[in-house]
Each structure stands twice: as C-alpha cells, then as structure tokens.
C-alpha cells in the first residue's frame, strides 16, 4: 500500500511491525513499530505509559514525514 501511495506522490511513513519486509520492498520512510501485535502501543505498560509511548512513536513517525530522503530511511527506535 505504502509504495502505491508514494507512487502517487503523497509523502508516506510506514510504522511497521516487520520493518525488514518493508525495507526489502523499498518503502521510502519506515519506522519500526512496537510489535506485530501492537504497532502503536504496548499492553505491558500502564495506560498512561502506553499513551506516552504512542505519542513518542507517532511524533517520530511525523518527523520522518518532514525529513528529506534520497532513497530510503529506516528508523528502528523512537
């Protein structure tokens, strides 16, 4: 999905449970999510901590959207 949206010229960031697959496919902007079962959350945390984590992940993802990328940018932490 990400590549087709990019092909249409729309800046995209992928928060991925499996960033390596996305890397191989050639998605431009990739951020590793927390886990396959919870890309933007962590059930082991309290709700407050989880919201803080979600915020960190989301803000990092937004940062990728505003970052100039020549070929590919894969970020593994937030």
């Amino acid at each position: 999905m990400a590549k087709e949206i990019e092909r249409a010229g729309i800046t995209t960031v992928l928060i991925a449970g499996l960033p390596e697959i996305a890397r191989n496919i050639g998605v431009t902007r990739i951020l590793k999510g927390h886990a396959v079962t919870a890309p933007t959350g962590n059930p082991d945390l309290s709700l407050d901590e989880e919201k803080m984590l979600r915020r960190k992940i989301t803000e990092t993802a937004l940062k990728l959207l505003t970052t100039e990328v020549a070929e590919q940018l894969v970020v593994m932490k937030y």
């Binding site: 949206i5 800046t11 960031v13 928060i15 499996l18 191989n24 396959v36 979600r54 989301t58 959207l65």
Partner: protein, 349 residues
Amino acid sequence: MKEKVKAVHYINQFFAGLGGEDKAEMGLQARDGAAGPGVGLEKSSAGQLEIVKTIICGDNFFQSHREEVLAKIAKLVREASPDVFIAGPAFNAGRYGIACREAAEYVRAQSGIPTVTAMFRENPALGVRPFNTYVLPTEDSVLGMGRILPELARFACRLGAGESIGEAEQEGYFPRGFRYNVALRETAAARAVVMLKEKLGGKILTEIPLPAADKVTPPSPVADLAKATVVLATDGGLVPKGNPDRLESAYATKWFRYSMAGLSALEASRWESIHGGCDVTFINQDPHRLLPLDTMRSLVAEGKVGRLDDYFYTTTGNGTTIANAVRIGKEIAAKIKESGANAVMLTST
C-alpha cells in the same frame, strides 16, 4: 544412497501442534525425533531420512530474539551433527518463512551443513537474493503439504548424501541468485546470433535475466506539518465491530475507508481487527494500538499537525497477492489524492 540421511528439522509453534498465534511468543524448544510435518518427511522418504532432532520456536519469539535463537539452533545442530538441515515448509507465512530462511542460512554459514527449506513464491522471506540455502517452491497454503513433503524429503536426502545439485531451472528450486562460470561449446558470438534470430521472430531469450526493479521516487518531505492534512491508514484489518462490509481476514481483495468524524477515540466496543494472520487480542482491547487516533487528535489540538482527515483507510495485509496489493494500493492512493491530503501515516502489523 544406502545409509540413512540424518537431519535436524526446524518448525514453528503451529506446525508443532502447540498452538496458533496465541503461542507465537513461545521460546525455543528441542525434541528428539520428528514432529509435525517432520513425521511426514520421514514417511515419504521410504526410510531414507531420519530426523534426529526437531527444533521448535514461536514465530514472534524468533523475530524478537533473533540472535539468541540462531545461536541456540547452531549449537543444537552442532551437537546433533546431521547430514542436512531442513526448515518448514512455510508456504505463505511471512514470519515463519523468514525464520526458516534465516535459520537455514545461519546453519549453513556456521557449520557448512547443507540446508533446504520450502515456501510459496510470494512469501516475503524471498525478497532479497542471494539465498545461502536451497528453497523449494510450494503452494500458497497447507493444502500443498501432501505435494511438497516427498519433494522436500528427496531433496534433503540428496543434499545429505553429498550429491551435487544442478541448476535451479532443471532442479526446480528457486534461483538462489548466485552466478557460476560454466564452459559452453558455442562462442558468445554464435549464441548472440541465435538470440538475435529468435528476437526477430518475436521470442526474447536472455542469458542474464534482469531483476525486476520496482523503484519509487521518494516523495518530498512535508514542508510544514502545522499546515498539513494527515491521513491515517492501516493494513491491520481495522473495521467497525461486526465487519459490516466483510473485509477479508486473509487474501484481501477489498479495502474500505471509515469516518472518524467527531470521534476523539476508537472504543473497543465499536471497532475490531479481523486480521487473520496475527493475534489481534491487544489491538481489540485498545484499537489505538493499531491506529493512533487519540494521539493524532491531541497533536492537532496542540497545533503540531494541521488537520487529521476524517477517514482512515483499511485493508488486511495477510497473504494478499501482489497483484491485489498493488491494485488496492493504487485505489487507496487515488482516493487520498482526490481528498487533497498531504501525508499518510500507515500502520502495519
């Protein structure tokens, strides 16, 4: 091939009969003898193949503890001293396919023991060549188990007996991406003339197939987030509870968009994930673990993001055929472009 070929076999939690997605976090286990499809491998080898050890690991655990798991597998293989290492078959299971390939390549590199695995041609694990393992093609689901087991057993026996394996085209395994020098009778000039004649007749021959490079021009960064409209999208199969539009849980052919207008949060009572390829328990407890609506609402309220589009786009990324995935992607892209949004945040399980 009179003596038995000794093998170590790697499978995941599901094929070991220990559970499905709920057991994907389980750690590594080892058993003497064959288990799961390994029993079938032995049976279809007419007594030639003996699986001395079966290594079982949860697909998620493999991903999150890769180094530890690979080291343990290498150790178990060293101790068992087999003639061949077999992994899978993984069919179209992405995480399992990756685990099979990585385990096989690691064992090969560490011990020199020949390795073979098997999976469907669209398995994401086949993404990048070269493979440092043999990979046999399978159907896209376990319905192909009956066909692959005797082939996998036969190939493993040949490897274990030290037989040399021919070219991919002849033998039927996926080309590994290695190029070997081969002496040919005809000169390059003679071969080129043959190829030119064929081309004039409309048939394209090539000695070096060019890889299908599908590159996308990286879109420019968003200039000012505070003025931008961001769209949320997911391939985690998030739908209104009850899945009214019947989005498929696997092999999706459809996509939908649903309105979040007026919602400050995604309540668990109103939304669910129908993704059939992973455990959706955590997402169903709190859909924000897949689609961060709550965070995006805050960011818009704080002025950090200009606007969040009312709609989120959804499909299921689980064994989607490449053809359908491209079509779905193009259709979603067209709709989003029509809406005039500047950027997309896509979350994926």
